[in-house]
Symmetry: C2
Subunit: 214 residues, 2 copies
């Protein structure tokens, strides 16, 4: 498999974690989002991914976009080790946790959105950073309650093995730290992040470990 | 089942369509997002859904949040008629289309985000409407290419029966029309929207048909 990735993209980071957890080797194809106006915006990458976003996964026979769809595909084609529980209600819980990050936090803090705030709306740096922190804190507040109120949360977001939810949470914590969001208010998130961060699959997927890291 | 819904919420609209396509009866519990400062922000609703967003689905034994997670749950618990194809690559294609809407368009045009733009960042009405149109057009541009380049697109987004992708597309078109986005540039989207709009499941899920519509 080949993964179009960017070291700091949290959506690509999710897929790197999942590939590592499943022990699937892949070739990293770095797409630099900042150099030369952004490699993701060039025609050759748009031909691969019309959304001009990373990640994109190429597997035999197909090109896959959208990190959540890619994780579901990996789960269906390489079921061991599972990254979703088996009972439908529990699967829904894990997916909902992942989607708090994928739908309620990350889309608002994406590079293209921050650029629009600055370049089109003339928002200053402090207001831009407040914007990022606001949506992270809104989302983490909900994520923390969902963890705290459910006895299924264990060492990880759902029991004692990593799931989709952890694959989404850890990159979002990495982003949060870049914006100086303190995790004191989110003890379950902080604890689960630390448990994940000790695992080889998460370590190898970290932005700092990527070939395109600077 | 009970569905916490708001007639104009496009995330709730997706779930209404899926429930109707699967022939599943449900009790609608309207959550008015505008009246009295927003029923979704009150403690009693936050106890149901800590994200303070609609929809929430209550089924025997569990409370489900996040529209995509709810659709996956309905697909797993009520597989007929299927709203996903059977082959993993095709399932990934349908999910990716749905996520262009769920992750790349809708989160940016949500009520809470527009309120932040206006109340916190002091953005005027015209700039706010341009913001909405910009993200809709970015997302629809990608969605249209994904439809156009793949021969699997048929009467609907994936073949000749509705899937998750149609459940997500139609509410987003409804939103686009509210912002005067013309569909001329998106002929596949326009054609598929019209095919969906003729089906009873989509008609019954339309905002104008909801008990809380005004």
């Amino acid at each position: 498999m080949k993964l179009y990735t960017y070291f700091r993209s949290s959506a690509a980071y999710r897929v790197r974690i999942a590939l590592n957890l499943k022990g699937l080797p892949y070739e990293a194809l770095p797409v630099h989002l900042l150099k030369d106006g952004g490699a993701h915006l060039k025609d050759d990458y748009r031909a691969v991914n019309p959304s001009a976003l990373v990640p994109t996964l190429q597997d035999e026979g197909g090109t896959l976009t959208q990190s959540m769809a890619i994780l579901e595909y990996l789960e269906e084609t390489h079921p061991a080790p599972p990254l979703l529980p088996s009972a439908p209600l529990e699967r829904a819980r894990v997916r909902a946790l992942a989607q708090v990050v994928a739908c309620d936090i990350h889309p608002l803090n994406n590079l293209r959105v921050l650029r629009y705030l600055v370049r089109t709306l003339g928002i200053g740096d402090e207001a831009k950073n407040n914007w990022c922190r606001h949506w992270i804190c809104e989302g983490f507040g909900a994520f923390e309650v969902l963890l705290a109120r459910d006895p299924v949360a264990g060492r990880f977001c759902h029991g004692d093995a990593p799931t989709f939810a952890d694959c989404f949470l850890v990159p979002q914590v990495y982003n949060a730290q870049r914006y100086d969001v303190k995790l004191d208010l989110y003890p379950h998130i902080a604890r689960i992040h630390d448990a994940c961060a000790a695992l080889p699959a998460f370590i190898a997927a970290h932005p700092a470990q990527q070939p395109d890291a600077q």
